[in-house]
């Protein structure tokens, strides 16, 4: 998993709770590199699972709730780091449509072998879209958080519905903009 996800998570903990809390989580998780993440690094997904597991215990929130909140926060980080991607698009649905072609290309520049989730537009109208989502790690909640933050970025209200498909790790979002 890309380093920026880890650094963003730690940033969020430090920012939203406190540096002490962030440190506490890192120490408790007994991470391989003791939490010395760099945004351009690439780290095992298990570490993220460890961190989220400890957060679930500490906060009493569900993992999906935590991931949604994190996704929402992550969008801000990503848009700051890769603003050019957003600059070329002028609507939420358009941005989502080009997710695979644009944003993931940036990841592949450094990590040609990275495991990235895949998006596929199944149908699209001016205000609605059916987006199929495939994630080995089943991080659909994270994706929802990202989408919600993006909706906020474009100043629109997004209605979304999640459907789990029979194929493993595959989900379908029915999105519409009010």
């Amino acid at each position: 998993m890309l380093g920026i996800v880890f650094t963003s998570l730690i940033d969020m903990l430090e920012e939203k709770v406190s540096p002490d809390f962030a440190d506490e989580i890192i120490v408790e998780a007994e991470l391989q590199n003791d939490g010395a993440y760099t945004a351009v690094g690439y780290y095992p997904f298990e570490e993220m699972q460890k961190l989220v597991g400890i957060l679930v215990n500490k906060t009493g929130k569900s993992a999906n709730e935590l991931l949604h909140d994190f996704g929402f926060y992550l969008f801000g980080k990503l848009s700051a780091a890769h603003g050019s991607v957003l600059a070329n698009t002028d609507s939420l649905l358009q941005m989502l449509e080009h997710l695979d072609g644009d944003i993931h290309v940036q990841v592949r520049k450094l990590y040609p072998d990275a495991d990235l989730p895949r998006f596929k537009v199944m149908s699209r109208t001016d205000n609605a879209m059916v987006l199929r989502y495939y994630s080995e790690r089943d991080l659909y909640a994270l994706a929802e958080g990202l989408m919600d933050a993006a909706a906020q970025f474009y100043g629109v209200t997004l209605e979304r519905e999640l459907r789990t498909l029979d194929e493993p790790h595959t989900y379908e979002f029915s999105l519409s903009i009010a």
Partner: protein, 716 residues
Amino acid sequence: MPNKHALEQFEQLERRVQREKIARQHAEALLTEKSEALYLKLIETQQLQKNLELALWASQESFWSWRADTDVMDIRSYSLHSESVSTWSGTLIALLERVHQEDIENLQFHWAMALHGKRDRIEFSFRLNIQNEFQWVRLRGRVLERGKAGEALQIVGTTKDITQQRKAEQSFHLMASAFASSREPMLVLSPDLLITECNEAFTNMIGAAMKDKCLGMDFNSLLTAEKVDAASLESAKQQRFESKVRMLSGKEKAVDISVALFETYLQSTSYLIATMRDISDRKANEAKLRQLALFDDLTGLSNRNALRESFTAYAETESPFLLVFIDLDGFKAINDNAGHERGDEELRRVGRLLSCTFTNRGTVGRWGGDEFIAVLPNIGMQEAVEKAKHLIELIEKDVISTQRIELRLSASIGIAQYPEHSDTIEGLIQNADAAMYQAKTLGKGRVFVYEHGLYESMAKQVTLVNSLKRAVENHLLDFYIQGKYDNTGQLRGGEVLCRWISGLHGVVSPGTFIPIAEENNLDAQIGLQALEAACDYISIMESQQGVAIPLSINVSGNQVLDTQFPSQASAICAENHVSPSMIEIELTESILIRDESAALDALNNLRQAGFRLSLDDFGTGFSSLSYLRNFHFDVVKVDRSLIKDIHLSSKANALFNGLVTMLKSLNIEVVIEGVEIESYLPFMQQADITLMQGFYFDKPMPYEQFIARHITRAAR
């Protein structure tokens, strides 16, 4: 407690700093690793590109690209060592300015098809001005990208200089059209002699309406005489022969055929090129010449050559035969009193009588002048004598009346038998001639059969002078020709030389009989006869070949000084319709020694009559240079003694060169005599000699032989 809290605070900070440090180091390591990988990738990419460029270079192609947004066409070529070189870059309009006028329309058409049509592939050739020279360029390309309206946005491709290829194609087309339009029949044959290609001249020659009729035919099946020898072609590579080709109509045509073997580039296959020439005209000419060579013009009987051939043929089969020698009595009187034409008519009449008398018994012919010979294998002596006697009666029957007198022709006949009287042809003729002399001696109008010992006693009685007198009076001398050649071997002229083959004395050399002729005043007649022969030869050449070569004759000092000679000579030329400028009179310096002023007058007269004058044997005798000063000779013939061993002696060479230089500076044409061996030729070339005569080129030979030889030469 506060201390403990402070300590924890400190430890936490320490951990966070440590995390940041490690993260930074990790990021740095990552950066190094990634930039290394990136660099290697770049090198690899560059190498790949270089490989592509080298591939283009190796195939001698240039890369070009065009973009609609800039309308710029960029042509790049590559080299083995340096970076890519942009050979040309500019708009399409700028490119068109350098395209050959004739190719612009084609280029625009193809470009428009790619640009607006649906055609993605583009390929055409045009001439492009490169450094003020048009080179053929082949352009290939593909449309890479099209806009919404289907218009091409980007086109890329390669170009190649195909000038050499074009030249080769053009030269191929040129060769092909030369082959097709050649007036000489030409064919391409497979190694097993099947016709794979032929031109129109060939189909015309064999009378085929279509080329297809000929293709696939066996070439040898068309030849009815000699055929192509495929086996010997393998080693000799070429062949030339005369043969006959059967036309589709079934008729045959004489042809000269050249066949050459060619191997293709990789020698995997070979083919033959055959060219043919219609030589039927030449063959007809040769036949005509053969006719001329073997038959007497006047009487239509066999001539001396043909008679000799038949003697030889009979002698070879070793069958006995009789040789009947007939000499007319009183013929000179008819010629002198009734005229040459009447004389000729009598000769023709005798010829007819002779033919009738000996029909189916052998060959009859005119030996020369008023002498005839019959060669009779199928007859007994008794019968021959009777027939001969009867012949004399028939000859005597005709009475030729002139205004003043009546003339009667008769004949004396001598007969000799082969092999009883002589087993050589010369001997037999001498015997028959001696017998004829005996008949004359006994009172003319008689037949005499040779008896042993007659020739020997006759030879004593009949002197060379008498024989020569008879030969001159009866026109029995022969006039041979020896050619004069330029330094390319081309025939430019000839010298008429007198030869005497006497019945009684055999071959008598000019060195022997010319002094006798001069002592006995026979030289003037010989000179006139030589001139007649020269005129005769020239007019035959003109009528048969359209052109003639100038001929020279030898004239004795006495004759030149004879005041009658210029008018006599002019008359002979006029009679034969030959321009005197075609006749060169060769004389020796002896006349100038005798009476220089008279000689100069005589020479001036001949000059005025239009004859060319030549000083013969220059370099022997006195060779007084004052002659050259006092009189203008058109030609000087340098004596053979001056060029002898010229290739061995530098002294001889120096003398020769000095002499030639002197003569040339006097504006005199130089003829070198006695060019006998090839080694002399470089010295002749060096001295810029334009006319040569000698055994290297040819020996003096009878006119018929001479002409036959040169007709064949000219035709080749």
